[in-house]
Amino acid sequence: MVPILGRTLILLALLSASAGALVALATGARPSAPGWLWSRRLAYAFAGCMLLANLTMEGALLGHDFSVGYVAHVGSRSVPAWVSIVSLWSSLEGSILFWGLILGLYIAVATYRNRDEHAEYMPWAVGIWLVCGAFFSFLLAGPAQPFATVADPPLDGPGPNALLQNHVLMAIHPPFLYAGYVGMTIPFGFACAALFAGRLGEDFLRPLRSSLLLPWIFLTIAIVLGGWWAYEVLGWGGYWAWDPVENASFLPWLTATAALHSALLVERKGTLKAWTLTLIAATFLLTILGTFMTRSGVFNSVHSFTQSAIGPTLLVFLAGALLLSVALLALRIDALESGGGLTPGISRDAAFLGQNLLFVLFTFTVLLGTVFPLVMEAFRGTQMSVGRPYFDQMAVPIGLALLLVMGIGPALPWGRATGEQMRRALLPPLAGATAVAVAGFLLGVRNRWTLAALLCGGFTAQVTLREMLLPVRQRMRAHGESFTLALRSAQRRGRRRFGAYVVHAGAMLVIVAIAVSSTMSTSREVLLKEGDATTLGAYTLTFVKAEAVREPHRESLRARLEVVRDGRSLGALFPSMNFYERQREPVGTPAVRSGLVEDLYLSAHNIDPAAGTVALLVLVTPMVAWIWIATAVMALGGLLALWPRMRESTAPARSLSPGPAPALEVVR
């Protein structure tokens, strides 16, 4: 019963998406009111079917209905309810179903919000969105079918992958990731619409930008959540290993960030339209590539789903999307350029271009490193690895350059900067740079790269603060307002700009925190017997005993360690090893004590209650918590920048139509 219901819903989704795509694309080519109406209805139908299908699956998971193929694959009676809920995205078919849900919701909302506007673009956009929707419905109907009927339903299932049950971050990382990843389909649709229509009008920039910013916020959070999960769960003490699947999530973030900045230049100078659309298309294509990387089994990765049949299908879709994008750009690029020029020489324009170049360089490098082993395998038959040492080595100079540009760009004026202006803009922040670097040096930083990061970070911090407070100071001077009042009104009126600088502040903190935490950590590996103690830094750890804990879905061996710092007891930490029924090697869960200054990280291998020993890895890493906090700051800044979208009541500064602007109807 339930499998049939699910399959029917998927088929209906496929039908409405396919029909809707055809209708919408036809309406784009030959506009008509009924065409647009039916495009919208079919889009909503697609979303509705996906929603119902997902609810059906969740119901089956919570109800342990093992007649449904996917539930038989990942369900289990012995796991807690929250694990059952998150099992929806724990394995391949369910994750595609979840993708369909997010896609449906995004399409429905984007269609609804723009139903009365941008008539020349919207049908094209809906058409492209529904093509994607149809593809994913096709996957669900065929190669990645979650609602297969199980002829002989088992009494119980194996439960999801053990690693995924270990920590609650498992519950929130994938939804954020999907909200970011899938959300990039919307700006792609808009970009294709602009290309089909042959123009990118100023009125269309706003939805294009907002539809890019919202998934960007989710993706930023998701990437760092993934790192946080790796840190809290995997037990090796780090948060980023440049694993192909991690890179898959990072690549679209890089091009999306570049696109957001490039879109700003489109808005201000009317130029770089085709480049911005290229970046947006690249972002979407990288999400499809990322999906391919994760699910095709072609890449060797910790996270990847097992090899599956959907690899070739995804590759065909990727090929189609790539070729369509290239064709559209080649056909329309000459029509798009408006010839508005960039300021020659050194100016903020140049900094924007430099930043774009760096982001694209970063994308190229990460992509090259990830794909290179495949190239060698395909063309020379040799198997080699491009691992963390390569990526770290490449990422550090690029990251530092980005940090510096983030400070230089906002400092420079928009127009051509005279020597005097440059001096006034770029010299004072050097004070901040030196202050931060010296502070770091006094606190023990000796690594050259970390000191460079502190220099650039201090520079950027001062510039960002100055720019953030500039409108506040202007208001205080012009209107005599108090600081708080000026801050509030400046933030209300210039929210986008303010939000952008909040994001910059967060990004600066993230880069500095990464630089410090990756070079300043201390570690020790010891074998302790009951009663033994070890010290690292200011911490003294005493191994009290090892105990076994039995839970319904796993058995844990915990080591109890008493923590003392500078004579004060900080309680006990319990690094553990979890044994799941289906896995030979246990899953180690580290115990982490996070602080603003530093983290104490304990990871235990080989807990032996009988012999009373534990092999312990102790890490003290400074500024790790800052990474998570700064990411929250970035997300907050993004939300601030997004907010005016909700209350759009004022017209943009420039007029759109070639007629007398209302602002110019001044009494002479």
Binding site: P31, S32, G198, F292, V298, L331, R332, V371, L374, F379
Partner: protein
């Protein structure tokens, strides 16, 4: 919603920008080719670089005590080196085939090396199911590392001069053993 006049909706007709097309093709086509060529390949199946090379020597203690067995002492005969463990189900399944082959292929020497297991468990296992050929312990896994073993069962077929002829990953059937030993014999 207001209707759109056809003139506004029609897209301008422009020529194809060949530079963009060429650049796009230059990026897209090689990428697709690389991805397509790699489909179907198991990224975890790594080919051994030892094939054709002299086999790493070892001198390891035998389970149940006695003098250590050195690979050198087996020179002049084809050798089958099988890495296994008691917790590995396919290893247990293939033991019968290996034992039978050891009995029938008289001039071939069979050696079992234990991978990441405890002597007690191994002793217990062999007491009930003797292998019919020497089983060696590998302290610290150093021999496994030297042979590039990443899992069990993995079996190496050496010729009479001590060169590795083939590395087989996964459980063995009698026919496979016979054909690979024949290859090792014929390789000198």
């Amino acid at each position: 919603m207001r209707s759109v006049s056809p003139a506004q909706g029609a897209a301008p007709r422009t020529a194809v920008n060949l530079k963009v097309l060429a650049a796009g093709a230059a990026v897209v086509l090689p990428l697709l080719a690389v991805l397509a060529l790699n489909l179907g390949r198991d990224p975890r199946a790594v080919r051994s670089p030892l094939v054709g090379q002299p086999a790493p020597p070892f001198s390891l203690p035998s389970t149940g005590g006695g003098a250590p067995l050195a690979l050198e002492s087996l020179r002049g005969h084809p050798v089958v080196v099988n890495f296994w463990a008691t917790w590995c189900v396919p290893c247990i399944e293939e033991q019968a085939a290996l034992t039978a082959a050891a009995r029938s292929l008289q001039d071939t020497r069979f050696v079992g090396i234990v991978y990441e297991d405890e002597a007690a468990a191994v002793g217990q296992f062999l007491a009930s199911r003797p292998a019919g050929y020497p089983t060696l312990m590998d302290p610290g896994g150093r021999t496994a590392i030297a042979y590039g073993v990443a899992g069990v069962p993995e079996t190496f077929f050496l010729d009479a001069d001590g060169r590795v002829v083939e590395k087989h990953v996964g459980p063995l059937a009698r026919s496979t053993i016979a054909s690979l030993v024949a290859r090792a014999r014929g390789a000198r």
